[in-house]
């Protein structure tokens, strides 16, 4: 789960990590009032969307950038007006962009230099790591690809946390003045502690700023959370902003389905994530474009599968649907029953290609054959993919 920058900063502030004062604004007037209340000569007005790259991103149809500095209350109002209700396109949003519903007005600070740091779980090490780099404020992924030696990494045990010496080690390697090491120690250790105590999956500070008075401040903050741990963080779960999410994906999540919307024309309904990805690959291999990733999971019941069909059909781009089920825990009879049920209650407006294999496959095929539902049956993966691509192209 993702949250907004201002929400992440609230969480960091509560965890004792230094952040600047700031206020959320949903109208230009609120932005002007926020500027005045903050009382610093320069404020940053920052679009709040669930995507990075805002500083370099621009609003559709104007030169307005996603982050701009304001030197007066009028300035703040003008920038907020240029952002609110507009669609911001950044390197991470894709060309369609995302609508800005709120801005964050944040006080300025004297910047000595910009650095980078992030906490995440390193699969290879099997533990959380703090990574840091002198290359702050830029695209860190580019830094990692071109100059991996500039990326420093310190693994730590989730319960013991980052040791003070590890923080000092990073401070030294980052070239921070010795007078700032104590600040760095506190900053990095608290950041790591916040990551663990909140069950985050990513906590990225880019840029991390060394101020002119030698302290460290999180100038930006991006946080995502481990969905599997949200059950023990009700407060964090409450920060979810559904307006930022794809409605069909939210709906699928509520039904216990894993759905990702894509831009093609062939709807896919599959059991298991690996097989679902492979089915998309297969569709593409045979010249089609998948409209979605949809994993109904291992133990889905008739209601969930029916909902899955509704979600796929709610995408107006879908011209044909491929159902690919390899029954394990999931029985083919369950899928077949759901298919018949869905055709009665939802109605299939597009051709449906079904490939069943595995547990109770013969019984499942019988249910389909006896139902009178109009479907195209397929034997094996290649046959299914060819048939669905042909069906989508025929429409």
């Amino acid at each position: 789960m993702k949250i907004h920058e201002f929400q992440a900063k609230d969480l960091l502030r509560a965890a004792g990590v230094p952040v600047l004062a700031g206020k959320v604004a949903r109208t230009p007037e609120e932005a002007a009032a926020a500027y005045t209340a903050l009382g610093t000569p320069i404020c940053a007005v920052k679009a709040q969307i669930h995507a990075g790259g805002r500083g370099k991103g621009t609003v559709k149809g104007s030169a307005q950038r996603g982050v701009e500095l304001a030197k007066s209350a009028d300035d703040a109002a003008r920038i907020a007006k240029g952002l609110l209700g507009q669609t911001l396109v950044t390197i991470q949003t894709g060309p369609e962009g995302q609508v800005v519903r709120q801005v964050f007005v944040e006080s300025g600070c004297g910047i000595d230099r910009e650095l980078y740091c992030a906490v995440l779980v390193d699969r290879r090490v099997g533990s959380p790591v703090l990574i840091a780099s002198t290359a702050g404020g830029v695209d860190i992924e580019e830094v990692a690809a071109k100059t991996p030696e500039l990326i420093l990494s310190e693994p730590f045990d989730p319960d013991r946390g980052l040791a003070a010496y590890q923080a000092r080690l990073l401070a030294a390697k980052l070239g921070l003045p010795t007078a700032s090491w104590r600040h760095a120690e506190a900053f990095f250790r608290k950041l790591c502690a916040a990551f663990v105590s909140l069950d985050a999956s990513l906590l990225e500070v880019n840029p991390l700023v060394l101020t002119k008075d030698g302290t460290l401040v999180a100038l930006d903050a991006k946080m995502t959370f481990d969905d599997n741990a949200l059950f023990r963080h009700k407060d964090v779960a409450g920060l979810r902003d559904e307006a930022e999410e794809e409605p069909a994906e939210t709906r699928a999540a509520a039904a216990g389905l894993s759905y990702v919307k894509l831009n093609g024309t062939i709807g896919c309904l599959v059991n298991g994530a690996g097989l679902a990805m492979s089915t998309m690959d297969l569709v593409k291999y045979h010249g089609g474009e998948p409209a979605n990733f949809l994993d109904v999971g291992g133990g889905a019941d008739v209601n969930q599968v029916t909902e899955a069909f509704r979600i796929i059909l709610s995408d107006k781009n879908v011209k044909a649907i491929l159902v690919n089920i390899f029954g394990g825990i999931m029985r083919c009879t369950t899928i077949a029953t759901a298919l018949v049920e869905a055709s009665k209650t939802v109605g299939f407006s597009v051709p449906l290609v079904v490939r069943l294999e595995g547990t109770e496959v013969e019984e499942g095929k019988k249910i389909l054959a006896n139902s009178g539902t109009k479907i195209i049956t397929a034997d094996g993966l290649t046959d299914a993919a060819k048939k669905v691509v042909a069906a989508a192209n025929a429409v």
Binding site: E141, G274, A276, S278, G358
Partner: protein, 292 residues
Amino acid sequence: MSILVNRDTRVICQGITGKVGEFHTRGCLDYGTRMVGGVTPGKAGETVAGLPVFNTVAEARDATGANATMIFVPPAFAADAILEAVGAGIELVIAITEGIPVLDMARVMPVVRASRSRLIGPNCPGVITPGECKIGIMPGYIHTPGHVGVMSRSGTLTYEAVWQLTQLGHGQSTCVGLGGDPLVGSSFIDILELFQNDPDTHAILMMGEIGGSAEEEAAAYVKAHVTKPVAAFIAGQTAPPGKRMGHAGAIISGGKGTAEAKLAALRDAGIEIAESPADMGTAMARAISRRA
């Protein structure tokens, strides 16, 4: 011969009194697995599917001589169940549970590494040596005894591959589901080492997926240490970057974990590539006949 499990493996189920635990315990019994008991705290004295239930893994081990466990404990308590099994000295711990918080697994990993136990999973279908022992949720009938070792990060994709192998007449020595989570107990490399050293495994089929670098590391290991024919498929070749495809691990981020990089590494190691998921069995067959 086989790896990890055989007809002598004595298996308990942690979470046996739950609906799912009981269902799959029966499935394993039907397949012929030597299930010897189950564990659910506070339910000692009950029986499930004719098997005795114990309060703790240590008691179950002492009473039954179990050397393997299959874990169906709900996600919030599953890490603790793994720790309990490791603490009781169970040699093979197979965690089926899906949805364990990543940091819980980060706490478990060092304990497993310092122990003599081997952990498979979590979020995996389990392990099967066809005709001898099935521990997990895979449909038994698609498997045939034979000499291809199969390993994968994904469940149903493994079934698909096994089914293709069976239809082509290539039986399997052992099939191992590694699990789809970012942190899992055993890697491709761990299992490659076992397959390479198992005289009954003549060839290896692996299914990877986008995200992380496990496939690249496996390719390097194959290049350096594996003399048997290897074939591979990578799922998610057409997945767009930044979108998580079901598995917590399956995401391309920061230009890392792309299918192209993985396929290049696998090819470089002399591994036969299945271009499409319909081609996994035939890719294995090609790799075998190339060496014959």
